[in-house]
C-alpha cells in the first residue's frame, strides 16, 4: 500500500496522463448524458457515501449483467385462445384498466 504522501506525489506526476494513477481508475468523458438523470444519480451516490466514479462503476456492472443475461425468447410461450369477445383487447388496454 502506498503512503498518502507518495500517492499524492504520483497523482501530481500523472496529472496530465490518460489514467488517474492515484485511484488506479480510468478517467472518462461521457457525452449525451441526460442532465436530470445525472443530477439524481449524483444525489443518490452522495446519499450512499459513494463517489461518482464508484457509483458509476456499480451501475455499469449492473447494466452489463442485466443485458448480458441469457434471455429466452418471449415467443417461446405458445399463444392461446382468450375466448369470444376478446378480439379487440389489444386496442382496449386503457379502457380495460383505466376506464378511458
Amino acid at each position: 500500500m502506498l503512503s498518502k504522501k507518495l500517492c499524492l506525489k504520483f497523482a501530481n506526476t500523472f496529472k496530465y496522463n490518460k489514467y488517474n494513477m492515484f485511484y488506479m481508475g480510468t478517467q472518462i468523458t461521457v457525452r449525451d448524458v441526460d442532465q436530470g438523470v445525472f443530477r439524481e444519480f449524483k444525489a443518490e451516490a452522495i446519499k450512499h457515501g459513494l463517489t461518482i466514479g464508484s457509483a458509476l462503476t456499480i451501475a455499469m456492472e449492473k447494466f452489463r449483467a442485466e443485458l448480458g443475461k441469457k434471455k429466452q425468447k418471449f415467443t417461446s410461450l405458445k399463444p392461446v385462445s382468450w375466448g369470444k369477445g376478446t378480439e379487440q383487447v389489444s386496442l382496449q388496454v386503457d379502457q380495460i384498466l383505466y376506464g378511458e
Partner: protein, 136 residues
C-alpha cells in the same frame, strides 16, 4: 457505434398472446422481428409490465396472467420507472395536446433517456410524435 433500441408496448404482448385478437398476427410478426434483432435490443417498463398482467388477469384469468408475466420477466428487459421519470412524464402529460395517458408519457421519457428510436405499439397516437419510429 450505438446500438438501436426498441421499446415494446403492452398491446403488442397482449396481441401476441391471444390468438383471437384481431392484431394477433401483427403482434407475432413484430415480436419475431424484434427477437431476430431487426431493431436492436428491446425493452419495456414496469408500468407496461403491470398493464400486461392487469389486462390478462381481467380478461383471461390469474393463471394466464402469472404465466405471461413470468415469460416477460424471463425474456424482456424491464426497466423501472423511478421518481425522475415520473416527474418528467408528468411534465409531458400536463402540457401535451396529444391524447396520451401518464403511462404513455413514461414510455416517451424512457425512450428519450435510453436513446431508443423505435417503439412497437398499436397505439396510433404515437405516430403523431416527431422523431419516433413506430413499428405497428
Amino acid at each position: 457505434m450505438v446500438n438501436d433500441l426498441i421499446f415494446i408496448d403492452a398491446n403488442i404482448f397482449l396481441a401476441y398472446d391471444n390468438i383471437n385478437d384481431a392484431n394477433h398476427k401483427k403482434g407475432l410478426k413484430i415480436l419475431e422481428e424484434v427477437e431476430a434483432g431487426r431493431y436492436g435490443d428491446y425493452f419495456t417498463s414496469d408500468y407496461i409490465f403491470n398493464e400486461i398482467v392487469g389486462v390478462t388477469f381481467r380478461k383471461k384469468g390469474k393463471e394466464r396472467a402469472v404465466l405471461l408475466g413470468e415469460q416477460v420477466l424471463k425474456s424482456v428487459l424491464v426497466i423501472n420507472v423511478d421518481d425522475y421519470l415520473v416527474r418528467e412524464a408528468w411534465n409531458i402529460f400536463s402540457t401535451t395536446k396529444l391524447n396520451l395517458n401518464l403511462v404513455d408519457c413514461t414510455n416517451l421519457v424512457m425512450m428519450k433517456i435510453t436513446g431508443a428510436d423505435f417503439i412497437a405499439t398499436l397505439d396510433k397516437e404515437f405516430t403523431r410524435i416527431n422523431g419516433l419510429e413506430v413499428i405497428s
